[in-house]
Amino acid sequence: MTTLLSVAPREETATATLTRGDDHAQTARARRASGHRRARRSRVAYLYVAPAFLVFAIFLGVPIAQTVQYSFYDWNGLGAATWAGIDNYLRVFQDPQLRDSFGHAVVLMFFYAALPVAIGLFLTALISRSHQMRSMSFYRTVLFLPQVIASVVVATIWVAIYSQNGLVNEVLRAVGLADLARVWLGDYDTALFAIGLVGTWLNIGLCLVLFLSGVGNIPPELFEAVRLDGAGRVREFTAITLPALRGQIAVALTLTVVSALKTFDLVYITTRGGPGNSTTVPAFEAYNRAFNTGQVGLASAVAVVLTIVIVLLTIAISRIEPKDVE
């Protein structure tokens, strides 16, 4: 669940934005107050930062740069590498299997992100002042639970649910729709959606909790004012709630979109990209080609393209964030 890595930072950046102003004022003051002490502090600071930065650079930073480097070579991981120029990148866009993998990621984005956010917002509109309910903390705990379960376990659970005699088919047979029963993860038409639904299950709770807590921050007077104006629930929602939740929506979208694009564990355990190649995703292609079929350069190119897509989307979503923070 490293997807959640972005939660705090997304909005922390906004608070950071605020406090930066303070900081400058503070340091300016301090600078005036203690001239030479500033210089001493700054040298020690490097010692403070060095260990963390070193670990980060060696095990994350440099490898990222190397991934870009690898992407320009043809290498099977064992012998010598040969220069490939931009061939690998061309292949990412031309090879149908690789193109499809990105297409599948888009489908997953709908199920992992769009759907949970939409449903979350809809429910938020229906639920009134949940923060005043005493049982809210219980619901929060339960709704959030899927997020803490290891993805391998989640995958194992849903493989059983989607199996021939699993929960889904049991329900269908019970309501007389036995014809629809099938092995959902083994069917070309349904496998990808089945995986998508797992994402929806994972993320609905997160979105709901996020939005409900955000609603709790809206001053009730705003609602009073709008109601006095004679606005109905819908207007109340679009005029007050929705704009107030912009920050939370941005966080939710970022988290869920990135989690859709990063999907690997689920695909690996449930389908390994099958049946055929109908559920392959970029993360899986990168792993499989790097470590199984000996196409390290191509795998790196896929990883680079995936990363760029994630970064671009994150930037795009951050524009929803309110620029001014209270």
């Binding site: 939660v7 301090a30 095990f59 009134s128 290891a150 355990i269």
Partner: protein, 274 residues
């Protein structure tokens, strides 16, 4: 203003529906794990008897004792390492002025949304040539690096909101920075540090890709990795798989129930505190 009865009912119904949606699969796996093997067809069913021996069998057949120990070693190490390193770095970014602080910080930030695939390929080959693959270090160090991005950010924010006058007072008293940090700043900040530790515990315990690539020896496998291979060998033995799955997820789930507020507030971030 209190909620009207109608509002309360609507709320409860909606929330209950989705709570059920969230919990049914998890309930299912619990039930499945205590269903006798020959009865289990993969569906949601109340077992005829509680077959606790499934856990024993999954534990021995699946070698999970070894895997859980592995996971423990790696997780504890990553948390300790990350906390220590990020407290130092976060403090420096928050309270010290030095050239390059913004640049370094932005670079760290980059580590937040990046997928593991962006660095794991060369990381594997680097570790291979230095002989570190198939060791706990191959798991601890990269995962520490991953956690540091979030952790440093988090600690910087915590230390930023720390009252500056207390710091100044301590400094004027002649205390060196390191004392200031660990004896004055950290103790009151223990709660957010705990929150961060709890989140990192969860992410590290649940990590799958890095062990999949780095670990070769059976007795170094972490719990999720062990489960994946166990699943490959017992594809249709739903009882055994369910028992194994519960064992792998249980530690974090228990931690979660004990410290729910921390988990949720940590993940939801300081949004509500704004």
């Amino acid at each position: 203003m209190k909620l009207s009865l109608r509002e309360k009912i609507v709320n409860q119904v909606i929330l209950a529906m989705f709570a059920v949606f969230a919990i049914v699969p998890l309930l299912g796996v619990l039930l499945s794990s205590v269903t006798p093997s020959d009865e289990n067809t993969g569906g949601f069913a109340i077992p005829s008897r509680i077959a606790l021996e499934n856990y024993g069998e999954a534990w021995t057949r699946g070698n999970f004792g070894v895997y859980v120990v592995s996971s423990l070693i790696v997780t504890v190490s990553v948390v300790i390492l990350t906390v220590v390193l990020s407290v130092f770095a976060g403090f420096a970014f928050a309270r010290m002025n030095f050239i390059g602080s913004s640049v370094l910080f932005y670079v760290l930030l980059l580590g937040l949304t990046l997928p593991a695939e962006a660095f794991i390929i060369p990381l594997y080959f680097n570790m291979r040539s230095t002989g570190l693959t198939d060791s706990y270090w191959a798991l601890i160090l990269p995962q520490t690096a991953q956690s540091l991005a979030f952790a440093t950010f988090w600690m910087r924010n915590q230390f930023r909101s720390f009252p500056g006058d207390i710091l100044e007072a301590a400094r004027l008293d002649g205390a060196r920075d390191i004392r200031v940090l660990w004896q004055i700043v950290v103790p009151p900040t223990i709660a957010p540090i705990m929150t961060m530790a709890v989140l990192i515990t969860m992410w590290t315990w649940n990590e799958f890709l890095i062990p999949l690539v780095m670990i070769v020896s059976n007795n170094l496998r972490t719990a999720p990795l062990g489960l994946a291979f166990f699943q490959g060998q017992h594809v249709t033995d739903y009882s055994l798989l369910a028992a194994a799955g519960v064992m792998v997820a249980l530690p974090i789930a228990v931690l979660y129930f004990a410290l729910q507020k921390r988990f949720i507030s940590g993940m939801v971030g300081g949004i509500s505190q704004r």
